[in-house]
């Protein structure tokens, strides 16, 4: 983002205006042209012209305002959700979940199946038929799908189109994503975008909460540990796409790190090791497993405290298999330990979005495609 490009002339201005107007309508529950003009500091004719183009291209619908009681009632503009759709997919080892999301960012249909954690096998033998089944079940015309977003575990380097180090989905070496993307695009005739799964979940949760200040950290504790970091309304990906790989952070001295080893934090806390601990306790007649909760809560609380001291964000959402499995009892303990440790105040919460990774992955497809679609109507 450091390279600056020119802001440019009137054509770009028109594009920016159309996009701003569409975004504002997306966020509202019906809004009049005059209100849009007032909120964006644009003239009513500019708004009217853009709205006309958006309505005739099918992006917007308008309905009379039933609330106004005197004079001519201004028509309200709404996003036509059924004009176009995106597909969001989450592949986290043993589960493949996917959903269709409409232009108004509503999840309209989803399905989840158990799969073998093998990326190559899943993509070539299962993925296409499952996406096609999802679309068929929803009754949507496949031509109205404008893009697919896929959330994958591991570091997604979108500059190099590479997926790095994800032994849990059967990819020990770096995976070149280009042939996979090309293959899916060719088969399904729609653009494909790949994103890290924790980043996708952060985007999904962020969109659902509609946070005004623009910051959120999503921490996922499951097969591995990862985080999605949103600061100033922007998802941070970093230099090589590994921003938020907190599973690799060390909170004790003496550890080494290398390409072959899993991270320190995710070695300490992951779904397999926690299940093993619980099993062991239960076999000894200890069914309360209080110490397991304390152990997990302590690690997650320290991780959050340390991240908070560095980034100072007011909302941390925790999710993933371990967090879902241990539920509210874990969350309460995490909060308690965090408050003891950290001088910065932050809210720690469970996820509120039903399918954050699906929604976030779909959002990536939406963000990549909407500009081009809106640009087309400006010509």
């Amino acid at each position: 983002m450091s390279k600056k490009t020119a802001v440019g002339g009137t054509a770009i201005l028109k594009e920016i205006n159309v996009k701003k107007i569409f975004e504002l309508i997306s966020q509202s529950e019906g809004i009049s042209r005059a209100e849009i003009a007032a909120q964006l500091g644009l003239s009513v004719p500019t708004v009217a012209k853009a709205a006309k183009a958006l309505v005739s291209a099918g992006f917007l619908t308008e309905r009379a305002n039933s609330v106004a009681n005197m004079g001519r009632t201004p028509a309200l503009l709404y996003v036509n959700g059924d004009n176009a759709f995106t597909v969001g997919v989450e592949f986290e080892g043993g589960l493949l979940s996917m959903g269709i999301v409409n232009l108004a960012h509503k999840l309209i249909h989803k399905r989840t199946i158990r799969v073998t954690p093998d990326l190559d096998m899943v993509i070539h033998n299962i993925f296409l038929s499952e996406v096609r089944r999802l679309i068929a079940e929803s009754g949507i015309n496949p031509e109205n799908i404008i893009g697919i977003g896929i959330g994958l575990p591991g570091v997604v380097d979108s500059k190099k189109n590479e997926l790095r180090r994800v032994s849990l989905v059967g990819a020990d070496d770096n995976v070149n994503l280009k042939p996979i993307i090309d293959y899916v695009e060719e088969q399904l005739k729609t653009p494909v975008y790949v994103i890290n799964d924790a980043n996708a979940a952060a985007l999904g949760e962020f969109e659902y909460r509609d946070k005004a200040d623009g910051d959120l950290i999503y921490i996922s504790v499951g097969t591995g540990v990862g985080a999605g970091i949103i600061l100033n309304n922007t998802l941070r990906t970093g230099h090589t796409g590994h921003c938020g790989e907190i599973g690799y952070m060390f909170f004790e001295m003496g550890g080494r790190s290398s390409a072959e080893l899993p991270g320190w934090l995710e070695r300490k806390v992951n779904v397999d090791s926690i299940l093993e601990m619980i099993k062991e306790r239960r076999s000894q007649g200890n069914h309360d497993v209080e110490d397991v909760y304390a152990y997990v809560a302590d690690l997650i609380a320290v991780a959050i405290a340390n991240i908070e001291m560095i980034l100072d964000v007011d909302l941390v959402v925790i999710g993933g298999t371990v967090v879902n499995m241990l539920g509210t009892r874990l969350l309460d303990k995490v909060r308690e330990k965090f408050d003891e440790r950290c001088v910065i105040k932050a809210t720690i919460s469970h996820g509120m979005c039903e399918e954050p990774a699906i929604m976030g992955a779909a959002r990536v497809a939406y963000d990549n495609r909407i500009d081009a679609l809106l640009k087309a109507i400006c010509v």
Binding site: A6, G41, I246, S257, L311
Partner: protein, 375 residues
Amino acid sequence: MSVKYDPTYIKIQNRIIVLNLLRKKRAISRVDLTKLTNMSFPTVIKVVDDLIEKGLIIDTETPADGAGSVGRKPRIIQFNPNAIMAIGACLEGNEAYIGLVNYALEIIQFEHLRITDENYECDLNAVVDVIREYIHLSDTAPIGIGMGISGDIDTKKNKLIKSFFFDGKKGDILQNLLDGLQVETGIPIYIENDVKTNCIGAVRSTMDLDSNDLIYCSLGTGFSCAIWQNDGYLKGIHNKAGGIGQTYLQVFTDSCAEPQMLEDMININAIKDRFGVDIMDSNLNEAQISRIVDYLVPVLNLSIFNLYRLVDINKFAIGGVIPEKLGDLFYGNLRESFQTMYQADVTILRSESGRDGVVGSADYAFEKLLYEIIK
């Protein structure tokens, strides 16, 4: 950030883009500006004319290299580094660095003073005297004074909120002196935390055209960092981002049940407790330096690695009074041991204490006054 999409905004933005490009490249032809900015040629001509009129850039007769052999060669336009000046001052605890800096961020004059606890007010007045002297030194009066001060700063109100060094009455004396100087000279003063202004300076001195992203870590009485990402540093919701020194270590080892804060393990006091030397006052011998380096390096490297993993920035500048005192051995060991322990592609730079702070503080003032400069 709320942005109005109006023509005036675009005009200003276009000027900023051209000016910043010239600030980096120093000299360029109008044709190359067109290519680099994606602006139309008429727009570039208009913007360049505006900037020439303000004296910020100079038209030259020098033809551009490598231009076609036929027809008139495009002429070079040059950045005029001395068109505007600012003063940068960094008060890092007992150390005060003051500099007169031009718009190309070259230090024209530089002074290093000490602020002692015994002669606090007198020493602080000496700092202000140097600033006064610099104001009258150059033909072009400085447009602003940027100050980096160790402590929590309210940048909106331009006030010192809390500081370990400038606490209570000392803080009041400093604030009064600065307020008085502003009234007396009519030159605006902008205050920011010293780690952040050092970070700006380190970013500017790397002159990396591809990416500015960098983390500046400062180790002295405290341990903190500033994270520069996407053309700005992270502030955090409570203005507390960068508190790497307050992260915890060694929580789960058997020998140490209690969590320990990083800062308490490696700051000046920790070194005093552990090695029985005051790193600021004593002339350390080689053996002492070596022992302290061996102790600090693993903790610092772990911090660097955690930051690298969290935000994926691979350029670090390390500064502060402790690295300054320990010198080459410290930086050499830090780089070598980082590679051995973590095998990650990370560059560790040595931050010249004082220089980065002065340049960064001056640039902070330039940034604050950017709109005034180009409008």
